[in-house]
Amino acid sequence: MTALLEIRDLKAEIAGKQILNGYDLTVKAGEVHAIMGPNGSGKSTLSYVLSGRPGYKITEGQALLAGADLSQMSVDERAAAGLFLAFQYPLEVPGVATMTFLRAALNAQRKKRGEEEMSSPDLIKRVKELAKILDMDMEMLRRPVNVGFSGGEKKRAETLQMMLLEPKLCILDETDSGLDIDALKVVSNGVNQLRSKDRGIVVITHYQRLLDYITPDVVHVQSAGRIVRTGGKELALELEETGYARYQSEAA
């Protein structure tokens, strides 16, 4: 069976500076992977390369989503194919109501996939359900996308978008940072609801705490632009003890 995400010996650069140095990763449908690693090791870079952010250039290797070469697809095609990135720093879209944004995004994806658009009443109903799960006020969804949202509110909003769009592959870049303890539980609960045998989830995090709620099948340690160690969920506990020092010297 083809893996959901297959990254082979990927090298990528930004502004002429190589950040990913031969990255290998395979995520199968149904799996949850955690990626941990020191600041600046290229975790966000990986997420941007996969989603096609302008300026990030693949120089070698390949990244395949369900067998399709991502480098051949535009940003929105990747999204419609089921790749979702919950941003480490979500952007603000002034003047565009969150609800309008959600409708535009969902229907754009559906249209690209040749599916029927979701009607406004159905959409509102669905969003209400999700807002309830994430303990969000509907009032917030009438406000412009992320504008004036607190750090934690932005992360909840990202999670809501992800749950609405039901992507095949979810990449969560430090979705836990900025969340208080209660919010962490609520958001983790939302993410766990997305766990399914057809879906892959990659969580990038610095903290073992998140993995108490979202139990990963595999944990990777990333350093200097590649994965240097892979293990089970106990690896995260070990990192909590030892830190990254030994991996940084190993990679160097």
């Binding site: 300026g55 929105d76 979500p90 879209v93 003047g95 754009a108 769009l165």
Partner: protein, 495 residues
């Protein structure tokens, strides 16, 4: 390739291909002799069966115009206009004589149908959406085709409440005393080169009078269509809101694609007496020319409102997407004490369009207030300038203005300029001015596209967000249409 770069490539291809209203109606026209002379002015006046004083008024304007020179201060650039190479009057032959709706030439009816403008009262404007169950909005329409009005709807119903809504040529015949009392009192014949030219040769436009205490029961609107080749359109609109009355009026315009430039020099005059209010909205969609800057309308327009009475209010809302060149400053003279002027503008330029637009708020009375919100969007190789004047005269005790001008740039080949003038002769007035210029954010576009929006849709969404404050000022009936127009005018021809 960066997302913005791609957008730029796409918008370069916009222009001729995107313009939906570029068709030509094949209809036989009655033309004035080419060029401008006293004879031509007499011809126009006679065609409209005008009173003698009107002809004199025109001739006086013409003589003055001969002594004037074209203004050159705007940030626009175009080859010299040959005023003798134009037709100053063109009317479909079939419109001779007054007609009921059923008698209007079917070719003209088809034209308006294609433009989405209903000339039958049972129809509604295209693009108008309403939640189910709610009554359809009714909009009275005056349709002006080249130099004549071809139909006006709901006239009878409006008459019942005393509202006069008719072509200005008809008003000159039916209500000469009203026209004479107000015409040229807001924009005098000597005002500026194009207004003076208009005064000499103006053809049709709408006349509106709202009697004291009446709230006009429906939206009024005029649709201008230039069809004939080498023809200038010189419409004249006069709206009077008598004491304590209210009216909301909308103007729309389109023209065929032609390789030659066409001149449109309109004058709009608004008058509000005590406690009256006029809300004037424009959705301007003249043909902008092709991507090389060939063809398109020269839109040289003088629009001014006079808040003559105390506590009266005039608000201008404009969505400007068309024309090769726009030169336009809808203004308010705040004469009555505690009167209020508002200007809300969205000006989008793309391709090789040039826009020099803005407003003037002239505070004369005590306690007068004004508000200016301007959103300029430049794409392609266009140039977009906001030019605004806020002034307070000595007696304008306690006058206040708030101005906010934001410019958004899409790509590297366009430009935006903000040119504010402020004059305060009374020390008690408070004028606030805010301005920003920014490029459309690559990061925000990426974020939207990561959620599945195409580049065009992402751009349109960001732009719609940028102009939201102004869009909200449009009558609900037209906001949806305006929003679509904004998307279309930024759209590329992506396969």
């Amino acid at each position: 390739m960066a997302a913005v770069q791609e957008t730029v490539e796409q918008v370069r291809r916009v222009g001729a291909d995107q313009y939906k209203y570029g068709f030509i109606t094949d209809i036989e026209s009655d033309l004035a002799p080419k060029g401008l002379s006293e004879e031509v002015i007499r011809f126009i006046s006679a065609k409209k069966d005008e009173p003698e004083w009107m002809l004199e008024w025109r001739l006086e304007a013409y003589r003055r115009w001969l002594t004037m020179t074209e203004p050159k201060w705007a940030r626009v650039d175009y080859p010299a206009i040959d005023y003798q190479d134009l037709y100053y009057y063109a009317a479909p032959k079939s419109t001779a004589g007054p007609k009921s709706l059923d008698e209007v030439d079917p070719e003209l009816l088809r034209t308006y149908e294609k433009l989405g403008i209903p000339l039958h009262e049972r129809e509604i404007l295209a693009g108008v959406e309403r939640p189910e169950g709610e009554e359809r909005p009714r909009v009275a329409v005056d349709a002006v085709f080249d130099s004549v009005s071809v139909a006006t709807t709901f006239k009878e119903e409006l008459k019942k409440v005393g509202v006069i809504f008719c072509p200005i040529s008809e008003a000159l015949r039916e209500h000469p005393e009203l026209v004479r009392k107000y015409l040229g009192t807001v924009v005098p014949t000597s005002d500026n080169y194009f207004a003076t030219l208009n005064s000499a040769v103006f053809s049709d436009g709408s006349f509106v009078y709202i009697p004291p205490g009446v709230r006009c029961p429906m939206e009024l609107s005029t649709y201008f269509r230039i069809n004939e080749k080498n023809t200038g359109q010189f419409e004249r609109t006069l709206i009077i809101a008598d004491k304590g009355s209210y009216v909301s009026y909308l103007e729309g315009c389109t023209a065929p694609k032609r390789d030659e430039n066409q001149l449109h020099a309109a004058v709009v005059e608004l008058v509000t007496l005590d406690d009256a209010e006029i809300k004037y909205s424009t959705v301007q969609n003249w043909y902008p020319g092709d991507e090389n800057g060939r063809g398109g309308i020269y839109n040289f327009v003088t629009k001014r409102g006079d808040c003559r009475g105390a506590n009266s209010k005039i608000s201008w809302t404009q969505v400007e997407t068309g024309s090769a060149i726009t030169w336009k400053y809808p203004s308010c003279v705040l004469r009555g004490d505690n009167s209020r002027g508002e200007f809300y503008s969205i000006a989008i330029s793309n391709g090789r369009q040039q826009v020099d637009s803005g407003t003037k708020m002239i505070h004369l009375g005590k306690g007068t207030t004004s508000r200016i919100i301007s959103k300029g969007i430049s794409a392609g190789r266009s140039s977009n300038a906001y030019r605004g004047l806020v002034s307070a005269h000595r007696k304008a005790e306690g006058a206040r203005n708030f101005t906010n001008c934001d410019s958004l740039l899409i790509g590297d080949a366009c430009s935006a300029h903000t040119i504010p003038y402020i004059e305060a002769k009374n020390p008690s007035c408070v004028f606030e001015h805010e301005a920003t210029t920014s490029k459309i954010s690559e990061d925000v576009l990426f974020y939207c596209m990561q959620r599945g929006l195409s580049q065009e849709d992402a751009t349109a969404l960001v732009v719609n967000g940028f102009v939201r404050d102004v869009l909200q000022q449009l009558p609900m009936e037209f906001a949806v249409e305006a929003q679509k127009l904004i998307s279309v005018s930024l759209e590329g021809s992506v396969g």
